[in-house]
């Protein structure tokens, strides 16, 4: 088993820089995830590392072997670098059976590898399909065939390009678990590319968040979620409420309270980001709810007369059920008498009527302060 080193890789298409000096390290047995919106350069980086694009600037090493070097124009073609790549569309060969697809990359057809294929087909629940053609399989089955095909030649490094985006939501979690188990078994260094933060959190040992060709954060899933390096990363994991303010006495004061900003300069303009799920609400007069499911199960009737909010309470604009959570929009006073809308995602069913008053609490773990230019 080898590790993957990508050093200072830059790549451009038609003069447009796509990847700008990115370095990635994946240890054997580790799953590293490149997370970012489409066009951030993550797929390009993967294709260069796999050898499908000729490197322009930078270096790629697999174990101790240099396979790409922009400085010396060294480029080992993809068929000679011992990598596995699973494509977003699986790219199964339509003219070959499941078994032939999986065996495609095995050069010397040794009995041990045959045995491995048989066992793998069995374990992945494809026993009945060994002689079927790919188009007769479901999406999940195709995904497993593609994964096995990439793993069959025992690659040094495995690349997965959006491996689950072709599956419907209900099937994803099972396939993810299966895939992760298989990767743990083989112990191969895996670089996974996705735009889905939930997928990245679930699969990765480490997440590299990319934006505009740069890596903007490198950390464990928990670090990335709870300690985002900037507003972009915070935003990536779901919609956030944004409030602006100025740093005074190492903190920023907002209509929703005061937020500590120990690292920012005095007088610096700042932005406070609060995750929707970082806000707790309670109907005025009750204590902020601490446990999900305590809230009234039916929407209360509209109030006859709208009460006026005071400094502790806020006026509800709307409340919508989302299934496992409720989305409540309420107004806080902003500059010049204009209200700012704040959205809170409350677990369970919590549907206060419009114009009713709520009290709030903000979870410090899910609110972040960043300097603005």
């Amino acid at each position: 088993m080898s590790s993957l080193h990508v050093n200072n890789l830059s790549h451009s298409f038609d003069g447009h820089p796509i990847v700008k000096g990115v370095s990635v390290f994946v240890a054997p047995g580790e799953v590293v995830c490149l997370l970012g919106p489409s066009g951030c350069g993550k797929t390009t980086l993967l294709r260069v590392a796999a050898g499908l694009e000729v490197i322009q600037i930078g270096q790629v090493r697999i174990g101790e072997t240099i396979v790409d070097d922009g400085a010396t124009n060294l480029h080992v073609p993809p068929d000679q670098r011992g990598v596995g790549l699973m494509f977003q569309d699986y790219a199964l060969f339509p003219h070959l059976t499941v078994r032939e697809n999986i065996g495609f990359g095995i050069g010397a057809d040794t009995p041990e590898r045959q045995l491995w294929i048989d066992k793998a087909i069995e374990e992945m629940g494809l026993s009945g399909y060994a002689n079927s053609y790919p188009h007769t399989l479901s999406g999940g089955q195709q995904q497993r065939v593609a994964l096995l095909r990439a793993l069959a030649p025992e690659p040094n490094v495995l690349f997965l390009d959006e491996p689950f985006s072709g599956l419907d939501v209900t099937r994803r979690s099972t396939v993810r678990t299966q895939t992760l188990d298989l990767l743990r078994d083989t112990g191969v260094a895996t670089l996974l590319v996705t735009h889905d933060p939930e997928e990245a959190m679930f699969m990765a040992d480490r997440i590299l968040v990319m934006n505009h060709g740069h890596v903007v954060q490198d950390g464990t899933p928990v670090e990335t979620y709870f300690e985002p390096a900037n507003a972009f990363v915070a935003d990536l994991f779901g919609p956030v409420n944004k409030l602006s303010g100025v740093v005074r006495n190492r903190s920023v004061e907002t209509p929703l309270g005061t937020f500590a900003a120990p690292k920012l300069k005095e007088g610096q303009a700042a932005e406070v980001l609060i995750r929707q799920e970082g806000i707790r609400l309670a109907i005025h007069g009750e204590r902020p709810q601490s446990r999900p499911g305590d809230a009234p199960c039916r929407p209360a009737p509209p109030l006859a007369r709208a009460p006026e909010p005071d400094s502790e309470t806020y006026r509800v604009i709307s409340a919508r059920p989302l299934g496992r959570a409720s989305l409540v929009t309420f107004a806080i006073p902003g500059d010049g008498g204009h209200d700012i809308k704040i959205e809170a995602r409350i677990p369970g069913v919590f549907l206060p009527p419009a114009d009713s008053l709520v009290t709030i609490g903000v979870n410090a773990n899910q609110s972040y302060v960043f300097a603005t230019d």
Partner: protein, 536 residues
């Protein structure tokens, strides 16, 4: 592949004997006028028949519609010169039609009645229209099928009648496709030699042969050819331009079953007649006449000569087809692996041949090959005192070269389209699984393209069988293919003896027509997408 074209232009610009002015004074104006009249006539004719029948079979319901759907393509199998021979055979003074008329009306001789002159420009227009309208039909039909019905229905709800909807919505939407169809038909018109020669219509292609063979002036022929090349380049440019326009024509992604206007009574009869007449005249009549002659005279025609012509034809056509597909795969895969602009440009240039009339290509091949042979001969005489003679000119190598230059576009286009259906990720998968470019081609691309490669080969094969002018100029002395044999016998009023040969060509031409009609039915968007082909 561009060598022939460059040779023609170079040779024309450096005339060895100055006949430019002579040409200009004598025949040039006549050639231009005749060629333009022919093009306008055929263009109008194929537009009318092609678009009209396409609209009828896609949008209306009447008895026999599903037969006409594919039967309207059949005339494509008949080379124009074959139809010209049959038409003349039937309509001339001694032909069936006039004999019957004389019997019925008791006329004694030519002075008693008026009958149109058969060997004329008008007949040439009619004959070519009848065999070339399927180009327009094919593309117009595809365009009508692709149109979103919603757009037509909107037009109806806005108060337009079916006819007005056709005129103001369907026709403009299909216009680029129809224009391309007309241009393809015109390219074939310009290429034609057999018909215009037989009808003594003085077009450019006729002129090239005339100047070359009768006036024995190569440079004169090359000069005419280069002017004709200008015509062709205009057509090629127009085609590219029309294809550009095609992009904007999917206005809606919603497709539903096509509406059908039920036609009854007189209207249905009219529709049947409109579809039946082109098929009858363009295919049933010539095939029928040829078949009856072939049966009647099989003893004279089914001889060793016939079989040697068939073998010659099959050899030329199959070698060319295999080479064309091979080179097509090589070029298309090369472009896929290494999409450098230079390579793309070269393949573009190599594929222009299809638009260039066979006569021009033939001249362009004779000139450099002749020069090459003379050079080699001189060299060998100098060095060894042995004359090598003409090695390349007048051999079947020259013909095959000509066929490749003309039909490479056909195989390249088919291979390229088929290759484009294989996603680049497939290549990536094969590469990361340890297969180099060569092995990927063998294990992945070729098996996946198998069907298309067969189609490409077949298309080239049949077109080579039909090709007359190129073969006529480039063939070795006394080397006959079915096309040249039919042309020579029929020109000498011996259609009966040429019938079997002509029928063979038509019969071979029917195969790609069947393939086409299958693929056009499959290609309608909005149909449930076909799964990947299941290998047998």
């Amino acid at each position: 592949m561009a060598v022939p074209l460059l040779a023609v232009v170079t040779f024309a610009l450096n005339p060895s004997d100055d006949i430019w002015s002579h040409l200009f004074d004598t025949v040039l104006v006549k050639y231009i006028r005749t060629t333009l009249t022919l093009m306008i006539g055929v263009g109008f004719g194929v537009f009318l028949i092609g678009t009209g029948t396409a609209w009828l079979v896609t949008m209306c319901r009447f008895p026999g519609r599903w037969i006409f759907n594919w039967a309207l393509l059949l005339p494509l199998a008949v080379p124009a010169y074959v139809l010209a021979f049959v038409v003349t055979d039937q309509l001339e003074y001694a032909g069936t039609v006039q004999v019957v008329l004389r019997d019925v009306f008791g006329w004694q001789n030519r002075q008693d009645y008026w009958f149109p002159e058969i060997r004329s420009l008008g007949s040439a227009i009619v004959v070519m229209t009848l065999v070339l309208y399927p180009y327009v039909y094919l593309l117009a039909r595809a365009a009508f099928l692709e149109q979103s019905v919603c757009v037509l229905e909107v037009s109806r709800t806005l108060g337009k009648s079916p006819w007005q909807s056709f005129h103001s919505v369907a026709l403009p939407l299909a216009r680029p496709a129809i224009v391309i169809g007309v241009i393809l038909a015109l390219m074939e018109t310009v290429n034609d030699f057999g018909t215009v020669d037989y009808f003594a219509v003085n077009t450019f292609t006729f002129g090239i042969f005339d100047v070359w063979l009768n006036m024995n002036s190569r440079s004169g022929a090359a000069q005419l050819a280069s002017i004709l090349l200008l015509f062709v380049l205009v057509l090629v440019g127009a085609e590219r331009w029309a294809r550009r326009g095609q992009r904007f024509h999917h206005t809606s992604s919603k497709y539903s079953a096509l509406p059908s206007y039920q036609l009854n009574g007189m209207r249905a009869t009219g529709a049947i007649a409109a579809c039946l007449i082109p098929v009858l005249l363009g295919f049933v009549l010539p095939a029928g006449v040829l078949a009856s002659y072939a049966l009647e005279f099989y003893e004279e025609t089914l001889t060793a000569n016939y079989f040697s012509y068939v073998i010659n034809t099959l050899t030329l056509a199959s070698v060319s087809a295999v080479l064309a597909v091979g080179i097509g795969v090589f070029l298309a895969y090369g472009v896929r692996l290494n999409g450098s602009p230079l390579l793309r440009l070269m393949t573009r240039f190599a594929s222009i041949g299809y638009a260039v009339p066979g006569a021009i290509l033939a001249i362009g091949i004779v000139i450099p090959l002749g020069a090459f042979d003379n050079f080699l001969d001189a060299l060998s005489r100098q060095a060894f005192g042995i004359s090598t003679g003409l090695l390349m000119s007048g051999t079947i190598i020259a013909i095959i070269y000509g066929y490749l230059a003309r039909f490479l576009a056909l195989s390249y286009g088919t291979v390229e389209a088929s290759l484009a259906k294989i996603t680049p990720n497939m290549d990536g998968a094969a590469r990361t699984l340890g297969h180099g470019p060569g092995r990927s081609l063998v294990r992945l691309h070729l098996p996946l393209m198998r069907g298309s490669l067969m189609t490409a080969g077949l298309l080239v094969f049949v077109d080579c069988m039909k090709e007359l002018p190129l073969t006529l100029i480039l063939r070795p002395f006394n080397y006959e293919t079915l096309a040249t044999f039919v042309y020579q016998y029929a020109s000498d009023e011996l259609l009966e003896e040429a019938a079997l040969g002509a029928l063979t060509i038509v019969g071979a031409g029917v195969i790609p027509v069947i393939l086409l009609s299958i693929s056009i039915v499959r290609s309608r968007p909005g149909r449930a997408p076909d799964g990947p082909e299941t290998p047998q």
